[in-house]
Symmetry: C2
Subunit: 190 residues, 2 copies
DNA sequence: CCCTTTATTGAGTAATCACTCAAATATATA
DNA sequence: TATATATTTGAGTGATTACTCAATAAAGGG
């Protein structure tokens, strides 16, 4: 008996993610969202509840897509080569709405206000970091890198490098690809 | 004949810088500024003209103070050791309003809106980068590091690492000091 | 003390913010 | 087709935004 919504919820979340990713939390108004999602306020709030709730969903989509991209890379290239390739992949996606990581942008914007979304972002970052650690462990077991280093420490440093790379990639006049190459090269020396 | 202002302009700018640094551009309202600077709207606009103009001054102060801190370090420690110490110094300042770099926060928040302040931030970052390059050049001339690498490339990578470090230092559950040590250690291997 | 010049005050501006809700509309089942 | 249930609509909410301006206060030179 009910009436079905005439939109694809997942697609709406993806579009919201792109907006939030590019413009940030405060930089994205409800008018922006209404026009991007083609929804009137009533429908918007019936579907998502609040701007924050939609941002939360957008963050989750961003994070799980990122994990999936890394996993697929690992499946085709193996642990070390996927870690070496990932930096280039991440800044090379020209259809992405921004070069910088949405999780770090969220963290930097909302951490000071103790906003729950900042905690969400940090959790997703920790998730990613532990996936990096897994890959380092696998690379050690495969003999691709020496096992003198702690995989957790390698992952911590690798993620920090990635975050720096992606901030740098946002800047004008900075050759981010060169930085990505150097990150990959330094992994080869482990 | 004129009446003198009863505030220290430089001190006001420093307080504004701290607010902006911590809370960001959109996250800092005029009410926040009025209460932190103890100024009514009229005085505020007579003194600074606009929120953006004050942010601009705050950015300049942030950048020149950063350069000064690096220069002093270089004077006492020499080029290589100052580059090695700088990461720890930058994340170790507990009285600072934030760990992350205000220039990168500004860039990430305002770049998408093509806000002039984002360009300002990038210019300050370029300034800092060229100072890093100078130090790398000096370190090469002093024989502290090999001269096989291009100082500009070293500076580019170094700044990227610093930006990543400072984002990481903002996160809960991340041992940023360990990352800073690794950055310093990797410089020793040049 | 007067007068000129500047600083300070704080109520008030229009615009925008996230969000609400009653009415209208569409759909699937009975 | 009638009814129950859900979605969509869009004008409108109060709060907050950055900012203005006429009135008042203060300070130094004559």
């Amino acid at each position: 008996m009910p009436r079905k919504p005439n939109y694809d919820r997942n697609d709406l979340i993806a579009r919201a993610r792109d907006l939030f990713w590019q413009q940030g939390w405060a930089g994205t108004s409800l008018k922006d969202l209404e026009s991007a999602l083609q929804m009137k306020p009533g429908s918007f709030y019936a579907a998502f509840g609040s701007k924050d709730a939609l941002y939360r969903l957008a963050l989750e989509k961003y994070a799980s897509d990122g994990l999936a991209r890394l996993d697929e890379l690992a499946r085709t290239l193996g642990p070390l080569k996927s870690l070496q390739r990932f930096p280039q992949v991440v800044i090379g996606n020209d259809s992405a709405p921004a070069k910088a990581c949405m999780l770090s942008k969220t963290l930097l914007e909302l951490q000071a206000q103790n906003h729950p979304l900042a905690q969400d972002a940090n959790l997703h970052l920790l998730n990613m970091e532990s996936r990096f650690a897994d890959l380092f462990t696998q690379a050690q077991k495969a003999g691709e890198i020496s096992d003198t280093h702690d995989p957790a420490a390698l992952a911590r440093r690798y993620q920090s490098d990635l975050l720096g790379l992606r901030v740098s990639a946002e800047r004008a006049g900075v050759d981010a690809k060169a930085i990505a190459d150097e990150i990959a090269e330094s992994l080869a020396r482990l």
